[in-house]
């Protein structure tokens, strides 16, 4: 009877242990389910790393945890830390060294993709890397050839060493985490590829726009070149010939420059003779002039230049060229009364000398100044003496 009771107690203890074990396994499965639910919400590596560390530490009742993912291609380091502080930022070189030491300390030394292996990292290695953790469990995981990482867990809150099934749970969580991490990295790669594609599309669009503009510019230059060539060809044909346009241009340019220079010059001349704008002097016919001269009632003035006067002039005429008017007037006409009749003659097709001198005589208060119609020839035709 006592043996039976003892057997029953033992069976009851075994059943209780099995029950506790089952509860623990259910709890573990529950944490695995929670981890999957948590991880499927995120596609970012940092978030996945943090969620994973939080869940696994909760599942195993661990107070310190450290997780790391390293990208060998970009040398990118991403870490998640709970319950401890890092001495500083982990450099790529430090991480590579840590991973190498971890690999050396791993159980099966494998770098196969999607593999995970338990590690026991020596404390001095962790101290050298600046990670102050009392690692009780650890794992090295390899996602693919370029991505790998480690997980380190500290002592449990209860102080009990992790059991083998808890280490299996760590591996199961880690395997699930790796899967999500791989997906996240694939997503990031796709995202990066998409960004790159967008950037390349933008570059392509810009290049096409530039090419189109360049094509338009080239077309414009081609047209301009053809115009210049035809213009040059035409000009080459004309260069050895007299061009009416050139003649006109020379005369036009000479006129413009001449007028402008004359406008500014201190020795300028009026473009049109002033006699054009003055009222004509009082004319006197040759016969009337002859009568006055013969009666001695008029003074005859030859207004032409000295050379022409010397060549031929009416007898008795006083030469008063306009160029020497002031001095000759003072010498020869200064004593004349203002009322004295003065008959002026001498003009050519190019110059109205008589009108000019008559005007200047009137300015000197001579009231009775007349211009001989027909000039020297008219008086000569009336047999007036010429010398």
């Amino acid at each position: 009877m006592e043996d039976s009771i003892t057997d029953l107690h033992e069976a009851l203890d075994r059943a209780r242990n099995i029950q506790e074990e089952l509860d623990r396994r259910v709890f573990h499965l529950q944490t695995l389910s929670d981890l999957n639910s948590e991880l499927c919400l995120s596609t970012r590596t940092e978030e996945l790393l943090r969620s994973f560390l939080l869940v696994i530490m909760g599942a195993l009742g661990v107070s310190q945890g450290f997780a790391l993912v390293y990208d060998r291609e970009t040398k990118g380091v991403r870490t998640a830390v709970r319950g401890l502080r890092l001495a500083g930022e982990l450099s790529a070189d430090a991480v590579e060294k840590l991973l190498y030491k971890s690999f050396e300390a791993s159980e099966n030394r494998s770098l196969a993709p999607m593999s995970i292996t338990a590690i026991t990292v020596p404390p001095e290695v962790l101290t050298e890397a600046g990670i102050q953790i009392e690692a009780r469990a650890g794992a090295l995981y390899v996602i693919d050839q370029k991505s790998l990482g480690i997980i380190l867990l500290g002592p449990t809150i209860t102080g009990v060493a992790p059991r083998p099934e808890e280490k299996e749970l760590l591996f199961a969580h880690a395997a699930s985490f790796m899967l999500f991490l791989k997906n996240a990295r694939s997503f990031e790669t796709i995202q990066a590829l998409n960004d790159d594609l967008v950037r390349r599309n933008e570059e392509l669009r810009r290049t096409i726009t530039e090419l189109t503009e360049a094509r338009h510019t080239i077309a414009m230059f081609e047209v301009a070149r053809a115009h210049i060539r035809s213009l040059v060809q035409r000009e080459l044909q004309h260069v050895g010939r007299v061009n009416l346009l050139d003649l006109g241009s020379i005369f036009l340019l000479a006129t413009v420059l001449g007028v402008l220079f004359n406008f500014a010059s201190p020795h300028s001349v009026p473009l049109l003779p002033e006699t054009l704008f003055r009222p004509s002097s009082i004319p006197i016919e040759a016969a009337a002039a002859k009568d006055l001269l013969e009666a001695g009632k008029a003074v005859l003035v030859d207004a032409r230049p000295q050379e022409l006067y010397a060549q031929q002039h009416i007898k008795g005429a006083i030469n008063v060229p306009s160029a020497l008017f002031d001095i000759v007037h003072m010498m020869k006409l200064g004593n004349l009364e203002d009322e004295q009749t003065i008959i002026v003659y001498g003009r050519t097709i190019s110059k109205l000398y008589d009108e000019e001198v008559a005007h200047r005589l009137r300015q000197r208060d001579h009231e009775n100044v007349k211009v001989l119609t027909g000039g020297l020839r008219a008086l000569e035709s009336l047999d007036y003496q010429v010398e």
Binding site: R225, I228, R229, V232, Q233, E235, L236, V239, G240, R241, V242, N243, D246, L247, I250, F251, L253, A254, T255, L257, G258, V259, F261, N262, S265, H267, S268, V269, P270, L271, L272, P273, T275, L276, P305, E307, L308, A310, Q311, A323, T348, I349, S350, K351, L352
Partner: protein, 159 residues
Amino acid sequence: MRFGEATKRVLTSEYLALAFRLYIGAIFIYASMNKINYAAEFSETIASYQLVPFWAVNLLAVMMPWAELICGILLITGIKSKSATAVLGIMLTIFSAAIFFSLLRNIPIGCGCFSSVEETMSWTTLLRDVVWLAMSVHIYFFDSTLQLDKRFLISLKDI
């Protein structure tokens, strides 16, 4: 026969035309200077020829020296030298005719070619103008070297 060909080659030489071109260009540039500065005196000279209507004398006195200067510069630089020679040729023809008729009419005036203070013109003056006219004719027909506009256009042709 050979002497004749050599003479012909010299007389029709483009380099002789170039020498004439530079000479005539320089003469006209020099001739224009005094006239440009003293338009009133040049106006008196034009009037003394008794060929131009009185209302056009001053206009001509203002414009003609600049035409001489422009043509002289064009001849020296070899730009539009054919047209410039034609203009100078026309002007020299008019000057020669004016001198000729003034000599015939025995008008006692100076030539006024370079300045207003000159000796009375003579048949020598007419001969000088006729020689210049002959040079202009030579330039017109035989000048083909050192023409800047032609060179510039030929360089543009390679575009």
